[in-house]
Amino acid sequence: MTKPYILGVSALYHDSAAAIIHGDTIIAAAQEERFTRIKHDRRFPVNAINYCLEEAMIDPDEIEAIVFYDDPVLTTDRILKTLANAGPAGQEQWMTGAAGLLAAKLQIPRLVEEELGMDVPVLFTEHHFSHAASAFFPSPFDEAAILTIDGVGEWATTTLGRGVGNRVSIDQEIHFPHSLGLLYSAITYFCGFKVNSGEYKLMGLAPYGQPVYADLIREHLIDLKDDGSFALNLEYFGYLDSKVMTTPKMDALFGGPKREGESRITKREMDIAASIQVVTEEAVLMLARHIRKTTGMKNLVLAGGVALNCVANGRLLREKIFDNIWVQPAAGDAGGALGAALMVAHHKYDVPRSAAPAPGADRMSGSYLGPALTNEEVEAFVDFGNYPAHRMSDADRAKRVAAEMAKGKIIGWCVGRMEYGPRSLGARSILGDARNPEAQSVMNLKIKYRESFRPFAPAVLRDKASEYFAIEEESPYMLLVAPVQEDIRVAQEITDAEDMLSIVNEPRSSIPAVTHVDYSARVQTVDGVAKPDYFDLITQFDEQTGCAVIVNTSFNVRGEPIVMTPQDAYRCFMRTNMDVLVVENFVLFKDEQPEFEDAGNWREEFELD
């Protein structure tokens, strides 16, 4: 048969998304939240599907199949059995939450028909197969061990498998309720952050603390076995039979009740964060060692929400358990849409796996798989609004914007296809000068309107990455944490401060804006192949300043989905203290813009994660 178009969909839990492939070529992928402007939107991703068909320029009758990323029947089985075991205590949870969710999931074919106006075949895969497929098929490897770790799929929470050619298989599973992802989420909840979105905050908080609770966690919360398997002590977790993640026993374990959201973060939360990070890393390393032993393979691929823990990924890399590691950039549930499509392409339609675009390169196109804007669209936008804008060539844009950054200006950068996955990788990013010691607090407090402790990530020219960071590998997806090189560090006094604010703004290196309190950095290496416009910008910055590192954070404010359209970008630009906005080849300066009229109190529009 000719190469089929297959549309993958993940939805109705969190971070709905759609992806479309042609054969095994990834044409497009995007999260629904970017279109609806509702963070982590879980609804059926009608807009993302629309975009996928737009990018492929096909009508629905050209789609061979639509694949849903998990199996609602197996999920039903898990929920029914869990609630039966929970007894009367779980009934309310069932009636208010799970039933409605399942009803929706069981109606996927109807939702598809309503949206596409025709009856396209709908197939289902399994949650962790979707993750496994998303990790292996786009990877650079012909064969690899596969590790998926997240909260929960149907029953599985962790799977160990392998990928060879155009097949993936799962050899071992750890089942709900024993879940590394749910353990991390429960602690996220306990520390006052939102489940399924605040986990990365916990990770960012960890370096401020000491792992003084690690033994307590090992002793009471999780039993880690030598073979990488684990079991949770369910007395401490509420997710089986209530709407909360933890029980009063957890309060007792950590010496008091959970932190309430937006209240002051104390040393206890910092230490808990540090402790759970240590234990999570141990669990991941044990799983990795086990799967290395059982598969004998030298490559490892990862997916699932826990694979977004870039600190653990960095540790995994440094331990050298595997020769090579590749992490799916959309490792969370959004990535399940892509995995589901690839799974069916290879397993059902026996699509052969195409050659990698270059030796050692992956098939994700830098994860720049979302919508792009054309200069004509941007021109239409700025013309309609009478917004002063300067159209520049690519070269002039790089030169001018680099010069503005060097002067300490903060840049909104909206160029090229939007990223698929949670990270901004230079297509929808806020950028600044990494040498600027005030950049972190300015960007956090005056632009992102979020907690001041949150670290920012560096984007560095690939060929110069090792001058700044102890990293030899590529890290194009910002999923590896590496130490800042010792020779550019600034010694700091070790404090045991109760108030983290006193240590946040201490310069710790010659690139203080991206050096975390423990001298670590979540590195993105940038080359001229996947993202030439971004590469040119950093190159220009390097030429002008002698520094090949810039600050990169997602183009949004707290709790807001990353911007997608010129309207989103302009609104965010005008609401915050950004100085320059770049949308494709149009450059807008804040001091030239007309007064911005904004309806409502937008700072209350988006909640903290």
């Binding site: 279109f35 609806t36 402007r37 009608v46 807009n47 629309n50 975009y51 068909l53 737009e54 320029m57 096909i58 009508d59 629905p60 949206e115 596409l116 106006g117 025709m118 919508p371 054309t374 004509e376 669209e377 021109e379 239409a380 936008f381 013309d383 309609f384 609004g385 009478n386 997608m564 359209t565 010129p566 309207q567 989103d568």
Partner: protein
């Protein structure tokens, strides 16, 4: 939020963002939109110089011609192009009046060499010609807004262009949407409101009532001296007088005309009179569409959206093909509706 499809145009009001590649969600399952460098919804560039190998026909109209609801390649202009092996240039502009369609011709079509000009005003466009702004859903925000448009006034019998250049930006939408036809009397307003309430209570009663009364809508066609028709006729007269090629005048009926809910005779009479006066061919596609609607399997319109389906476009194309073929002296077979729907 959908991709923004349109850009401001000081002469026409707006046109498609050039070189656009988009898709619009729709009750029919969604449709693909491509525009060319000139900002019209066409897969092909509009070339000024004539081709030695292919006849070229220019089509003007509103969203029915532009093809709201169906993908590029499936609209009646595309169907005609494929069937007759001609180069069909689609200048359709959604939500436009005939005033804007004429201005699009002046701005973008006049200098393009061609063999035939096909004017496809939608019958209901007569109301839009009287408006200085159109109530639309902003494709940027989704909000209901008023979009300024150019319009003509008849001053001492002469067409006078207003709102030109067209101001940028949106105007606030009125509290309530403007009534469908012009200036109803106070009593009729009350009756209309009562009918609206009754229709909510007994769905379909409004439609039944309209069918029973066989209203002739839009009303402006009922009187050859009405403000609306005088303006419509003046614009078309001007347009035809500037044309350098034969012209086909092919009004697109409303679906209520096809279903028989609205009486069509007034509009048919007006356009026939104008065609005779100006010496152009009036192609009346209503009877053909009624026949296909009555006998065909596929619906010609969407359930809610009053635009033609793919089958509707094929049906419209089938009615136009004979006249275009005759004008171009082409030796092709008639278009079979069944094989294309």
């Amino acid at each position: 939020m959908a991709r923004n499809l349109f850009k401001h145009d000081p002469a026409i009001g707006y046109r498609f963002v050039p070189n656009l590649k988009g898709r619009v969600r729709h009750e029919g399952g969604g449709y693909l939109v491509r525009s060319n460098a000139d900002g019209f919804r066409s897969d092909r560039p509009f070339v000024r110089e004539a081709s030695d190998t292919q006849k070229r026909v220019l089509f003007f109209g509103d969203s029915n011609t532009a093809g709201d609801g169906v993908s590029n390649g499936k609209r009646f202009v595309d169907v005609i192009e494929k069937h007759l092996d001609i180069a069909a240039y689609n200048y359709g502009l959604p939500s436009s009046g005939v005033d804007q369609q004429y201005l699009a011709w002046r701005e973008a079509g006049h200098d393009v060499e061609h063999d035939l000009l096909v004017l496809c005003p939608m019958v209901d466009n007569i109301r839009r010609n009287l408006q200085s702004a159109r109530l639309i859903h902003s494709s940027m925000s989704g909000d209901l807004v008023m979009l300024p448009k150019p319009y003509f006034e008849l001053v001492d019998g002469t067409l006078t262009l207003r709102n030109s250049p067209v101001p940028k930006g949106h105007l606030p939408a009125p509290e309530e949407e403007a009534p469908e036809d012009t200036s109803p009397s106070g009593l009729r307003k009350v009756a209309r409101k009562a009918m609206g309430m009754a229709d909510k209570q007994f769905p379909g009663i409004r439609s039944w009532s309209q069918r029973a009364r066989r209203l002739a809508l839009p009303e402006a066609y009922n009187d050859p001296d009405s403000e609306g028709w005088l303006l419509m006729a003046a614009i078309l007269r001007q347009w035809i007088s500037e044309a350098k090629t034969p012209v086909i005048l092919c009004p697109i009926p409303m679906f209520d005309h096809i279903s028989g809910k609205f009486r069509a005779e007034p509009y048919r009479q007006r356009f026939a009179e104008l065609a005779k006066e100006t010496g152009v061919e009036f192609v009346d596609i209503l009877d053909g569409l009624r026949k296909i609607d009555a006998t065909g399997d596929a619906p010609l319109r969407f359930p809610t959206d009053e635009h033609p389906t793919v089958a509707g476009h094929v049906a419209i194309a089938a009615q136009m093909v004979p006249a275009i073929r005759k004008h171009l002296s082409l030796d092709t077979k008639p278009l079979s509706v069944a094989s294309n729907s």
